[in-house]
Symmetry: C2
Subunit: 202 residues, 2 copies
DNA sequence: TTTTATTGATCGTATGTTCAATAAAAATAG
DNA sequence: CTATTTTTATTGAACATACGATCAATAAAA
């Protein structure tokens, strides 16, 4: 029953279905047939709207990156001090939206895909540069010369927590993910004893 | 020219070729034909020795894990204090052997593969548990109750540095990878100012 | 002669892509 | 308001390709 104006709806449905399929399979080794089936449309329609499997994958990746950027931007509003800015970035990077199982799976898969796809690599490079820039801006006044060092540490911690989450056997082994990064930042900025959080283990 | 006793030789050649193929392709989407070709043998021989593609992949994974374990064990010899023990683990985890491009690619790919292969997940779980145990042993006397927290932080940092290395555009953006972790450990253990290393940026 | 190492042709299967056909809505004309 | 034309949405069969797996055959060593 063709209604006009279905294109953006179908595109989003197919992208969502692709992310679901990636999560279910645990890799990019998925079929357009499966994606189309999950979206409730025929095989041909996916090709009609995206042209090829590769472009559908890239579109899904771009969707997640855009969603993450929005999350960061929202987090950075209503924030005044540089220290709060750092917390906002951490909270956006490790927030519930980014920790949904499908999203974690997809990000991990995209990381790997970036090793063989130029488009994917460029997209990830944008994210990497933006995160680095977002971290450096509040870190310059707080950490001075050590800003780049701390930024690299925070970024690595975030990525590491993320990748370790992807291996969680259903139960998440370590729940205080913000605490790990906040504690790191506090210590880097000169607090010998992290003051706000007890930093307890799971 | 069949010589007797070729089995272990061929197995290792095929495993090495598989790791090369994974690095070249950037994923597990590789063909047995390619692997066999890289090893200089026929397609059929790979099946003869490994039975299936999956078992060859698992064998390659097991090879890398075993190589890493050996590296850690060697590093832990000739070490006395708990603090030195920590450094030894860090050095083994981020050492040159583990940072060869083929090895980095393979590890990243195996991380993803663990999401859909039970065998792969179990193998990685062994590595994760062993690393955690190795870190906790020297951390208990040094960090007391915070040992588990610090262990999780160190592990996440290592994994994060590792995954970020895999995206390096040829040049490695941040070369002082030991420094990041050592600095983290020092600060967690109470040194306000990291004393031994300047912890400079790249 | 028996065992071990090795090959490559062959088969079935699954996948990405193409394409002609269909059906409903919208636009246009009478 | 109806009839026809055009546009948009959608389908699934068909095709070429590539892959993993199987297997009978071969050749050298024991």
């Amino acid at each position: 029953m063709p209604k006009v104006g279905m294109e953006p709806i179908r595109r989003k449905e197919l992208i969502t279905a692709a992310i679901e399929a990636i999560h279910a399979r645990g890799s990019l080794d998925i079929t357009i047939r499966d994606i189309a089936s999950r979206a409730g449309v025929s095989l041909g329609l996916a090709h009609h709207y995206f042209g090829s499997k590769d472009r559908l994958i890239i579109a899904a990746m771009r969707f997640l990156l855009s969603q993450f950027s929005t999350q960061v931007r929202n987090s950075l509003q209503c924030v005044s001090t540089p220290r709060d800015r750092l917390s906002a970035i951490v909270k956006a990077s490790l927030g519930e939206e980014q920790f949904q199982p499908e999203v974690v799976s997809a990000w991990l898969v995209f990381y790997v895909h970036a090793q063989m796809s130029d488009d994917a690599r460029q997209l990830l490079a944008v994210y990497t540069r933006r995160l680095r820039s977002n971290l450096l801006y509040p870190l310059r006044p707080l950490a001075g010369e050590r800003a780049e060092f701390v930024a690299e540490g925070v970024a690595a911690l975030i990525d590491g927590i993320y990748i370790r989450q992807s291996l969680g056997d259903g139960r998440q082994r370590f729940r205080d993910r913000y605490g790990l990064v906040e504690d790191y930042i506090d210590r880097q900025l000169g607090f010998t004893q992290a003051e706000n959080n007890q930093a307890g283990t799971a």
